[in-house]
Point group: D2
Chain length 335, copies 4
Amino acid sequence: MTYKAGIVGYRGYSGAELVRILEHHPAVQPVLLDHRTEDGGRPPIRHASHPVRLHCGPEAIKNEGLAVVFLATPPEVSMELAPVMLGAGALVVDLSGAFRLGTPENYMAWYKETHTQPALLAEAVYGLPEFRRDGIPGARLLSNPGCYPTAANLAIAPLIQAGVVDRAAGIVCDAKSGTSGAGRKPSLKTSFCEVTENFSAYSILRHRHVPEVLMVSGIEDREFSFTAQLLPVHRGILETIYCRTVGVESAEDLLAVYEKRYAGEPFIRLYEPGHVPDLRAVARTNFCDIGVTFDAASGRAVVVAAIDNLVKGAAGQAIQNMNLMLGFPETEGLL
Amino acid sequence: MTYKAGIVGYRGYSGAELVRILEHHPAVQPVLLDHRTEDGGRPPIRHASHPVRLHCGPEAIKNEGLAVVFLATPPEVSMELAPVMLGAGALVVDLSGAFRLGTPENYMAWYKETHTQPALLAEAVYGLPEFRRDGIPGARLLSNPGCYPTAANLAIAPLIQAGVVDRAAGIVCDAKSGTSGAGRKPSLKTSFCEVTENFSAYSILRHRHVPEVLMVSGIEDREFSFTAQLLPVHRGILETIYCRTVGVESAEDLLAVYEKRYAGEPFIRLYEPGHVPDLRAVARTNFCDIGVTFDAASGRAVVVAAIDNLVKGAAGQAIQNMNLMLGFPETEGLL
Amino acid sequence: MTYKAGIVGYRGYSGAELVRILEHHPAVQPVLLDHRTEDGGRPPIRHASHPVRLHCGPEAIKNEGLAVVFLATPPEVSMELAPVMLGAGALVVDLSGAFRLGTPENYMAWYKETHTQPALLAEAVYGLPEFRRDGIPGARLLSNPGCYPTAANLAIAPLIQAGVVDRAAGIVCDAKSGTSGAGRKPSLKTSFCEVTENFSAYSILRHRHVPEVLMVSGIEDREFSFTAQLLPVHRGILETIYCRTVGVESAEDLLAVYEKRYAGEPFIRLYEPGHVPDLRAVARTNFCDIGVTFDAASGRAVVVAAIDNLVKGAAGQAIQNMNLMLGFPETEGLL
Amino acid sequence: MTYKAGIVGYRGYSGAELVRILEHHPAVQPVLLDHRTEDGGRPPIRHASHPVRLHCGPEAIKNEGLAVVFLATPPEVSMELAPVMLGAGALVVDLSGAFRLGTPENYMAWYKETHTQPALLAEAVYGLPEFRRDGIPGARLLSNPGCYPTAANLAIAPLIQAGVVDRAAGIVCDAKSGTSGAGRKPSLKTSFCEVTENFSAYSILRHRHVPEVLMVSGIEDREFSFTAQLLPVHRGILETIYCRTVGVESAEDLLAVYEKRYAGEPFIRLYEPGHVPDLRAVARTNFCDIGVTFDAASGRAVVVAAIDNLVKGAAGQAIQNMNLMLGFPETEGLL
């Protein structure tokens, strides 16, 4: 059986990636939904076939029978569209930060805006399958995790849960992201001449993705130092994570924690001791790759986690979640 | 004696390069002129000294005693400001296309706008010193050449003037420019994610820089095929020029044409036969480097010319022109 | 039915691309063949499954029942291995220049080496399916085209064959390639610091890929000016081609020549008049994209053709050829 | 009075930068010294004047009257050449790691080689002027600091010396370097196709630059977690440093520590609270730029320090040291 999935924001980098992946999905067909005016997109190739394109509204959902709608839109647009799409009978997968933080207070604290849909916020399921798989199949509104927290939680949460981290000494997450993470809207900050041959840090200790890590990994703000940094690459996130361990004697011990936690997980790959992933290893895949380095004399661990910010950090994970919501194999269209 | 030079558009890439070069010029001091609101610029470094910054208007010229004003502005702003600056007693060096094409008709044909200052257009001196040096010292309004035509004319005009080109067979100029050539204003076309790992052609056969080549090199539009292309680099222009020759027997013959024409020129460098410049050779310099390859069997020549689009293609040449206008050595501040 | 395909040179960029594509091919399974020592390759990911890896020799062909062997090796290695692999019963697809030029004299003229397998050279089929499809299914030894000539011939040959080019005026092909075209062997020329923020021309008028264009497009050396240039990108070739036309009145006329010639071709895409492809459009695909610009007043045409040098310019086309040789649909594993 | 300075290893990136800077130094003239065969270097530009080039040996020192010799060579070559150059009467500035670590045992521990010049190792002065200025004027053998430790010590040592760091909680230094830091010798790791669109960590917790930080900043290995990472840029180092503070109430407090320590330092620039440098800010300069972010609730500080690895991290600092050794103003040729 084939389903149709609407995509709002299909011009953006995450939205375009959703279209690209769904065009190869065996059971779900993409439909482009225009919210307000959108500029031109694909090049004018003769005889090319493109996905159906409709005005974004309840009629499109009903007439086309869209099973699910992806919102690859800013938070304020997601808050506006989510109730409309749900009301028209579609499941919603939201890729913005609108429905990630659980409470209006938390949203206000980090996004500096009033949340206009508190009931939906309470209902939304945070879709990090490796940690919240059970709640996803029944979700009406799925909140897709942020790109930085996806890698951070996949690297940190197993260690916290296994009790091997000296939390009092703090956890440092030094994160680097490709420029597509800043979105497709033109800005000086993401202009070629400003980014090439450059590297810069931003939102140090105050990035709005921080609360997602606190929430999933179960740590306190004061224990978690996070820096976001802009790499002169198109796509990819690499996070270098530093902590002190308790009860760990070797890199192999640490890897055993991950191996146990992630047994059977299709999208987690672990590296042999002393080896760590680079961006290249995960480009255009839905994998999160994890490697560890350990100093036995001091108990210090350095964990390197890498994802493609547009795939496992956005569109790929959104489709992983959609697969779970619609009852498909979790990896469908993603390998 | 020290002069002061005003710079309008000092946030733009050419304008910032003017400031950078003038900060090291022994006899001219930069003054920033604000035309409308400009966003912040330099990083907030403690105790840093910055050039004086004033509102752009006749008072600034008079009160500060500005000898010259550089307009690193769009053509329509240059047309608005040039008469004001001249009226207040300053010399003007305009880096836009506003005063390059000689007649309002020519301007309309290529810029698709009415020229609002035809008298100044007629008066303006086209500042390619290697070909128009005599007219520059007495100029009130100096029109600084476009980046692409600077390299093209320096490579093509000597061969045309020496009569060694088979014009009927046509001259091809395949030009590649770094992204700073498109200016600092954010746009999707110059966004990092659109430019990196990409390469694209634009304005094929119709670029508005073409008439400057026809004018200086003395050839017809139908004889000159020009393509502009966007390189994923910050700065630099490389042009690969193809023609058929008459009366040339070797690469050495071709180089002899250039050597004769450019004897004593401080900013032209020629390469040994078979060697050609790359972008790196001219980065951050005011040089135009030229190399030739020749096929004796067929008389075909390929000339490669390289400049830094922000230096010899913009700010450096503007200061070279200013040096001539103010009576300084031509190379002052540029070596 | 499933076949096995051996790959020699699987560490190189073309070889690795062959492995990547074949891992997703529904009917052909890659087997890695080690010729001499090869360095380590994939990262040490736990529990990862890798293709079978064998010593490269006749036993591997026979014991494993390899139907075909890809030689992603330098010409001298291809000349050494091709007879061995053929003798052991495998079909051979050679990605080097060893078997492209038809005669030992031609090979000597451009590669400056004696050809050691003249009989195989005479037998080899040049595998540009869009122009030589009929000969491919029965070939034992398939010579895969060079990357530059693939784009050049696909853009030029239809126009020559339709008689719309003024050959006397010459055809210029200004070609730009990503750095992977220079291979994976470390060299100063392809070091990051030498390539980034740079652009350079090489082998002007003398590139060893030229004779493939003369051969397929049916033109003379003196009519064809070719420059190869190194782009600071990983992959992709864009060629800007200039010619004067006869009997052409519009861009649409030119496109009609291509449309007629390429009707039904699965890997050729044409652009609407005035639009041309960029590198991005073809990255990681087996497409050759073609767009034209035309000046009616002078009859000048500029054709832009783009391919991914590692796919349509190497591994993708090699698998397209393999599909034809083994009787699979031509697009199998390539869309 | 003018001095002559010899440069061994002038083809390498640091060596070429030494030549470039000295060509503009008002009082010191570069002389190229060939140690073994060196490949060609500068492009074949006609009529270009190049520095004198001599065989590297005691005769060159004596005959040319070289006051100082820069060794931009690997450690083993520096150990071989330093005694020869000193013996011939030149001062020596060594840019390798050969003479940085004080004792043969320390050298063996981090470089895994026997030190062949223990007496010179004991005599060498570690040339970080901001911390060791007094010893530099009288030095015969100056050991120029590593690139990573230069930025790390300039950022960390003032805080340690002021007693504001909670050393028990550890200090994390997450360092990112441009690819020129790996040298000019071709290798797969620094090939364009491996570096572009990639980012990778190496020598985690075990980099041989670590002991220089321990030595200057006065901390223990177990307190200092250092990761080196390769950026897809040509030049520049940015280090993100995390620590917990004691007795600090604001970013301004932290900046006051730096302001006091660095009063009058010509090459240190501090940023306003909440602002941090990027790579661009220091490119092609001898500055070390420092900015801080502070979280008052938890006492956590994040310090960002940036330098150009080839200037303040190598050639610029070497010339700063030479200026002190020869009695010139410290900034001569460097602003």
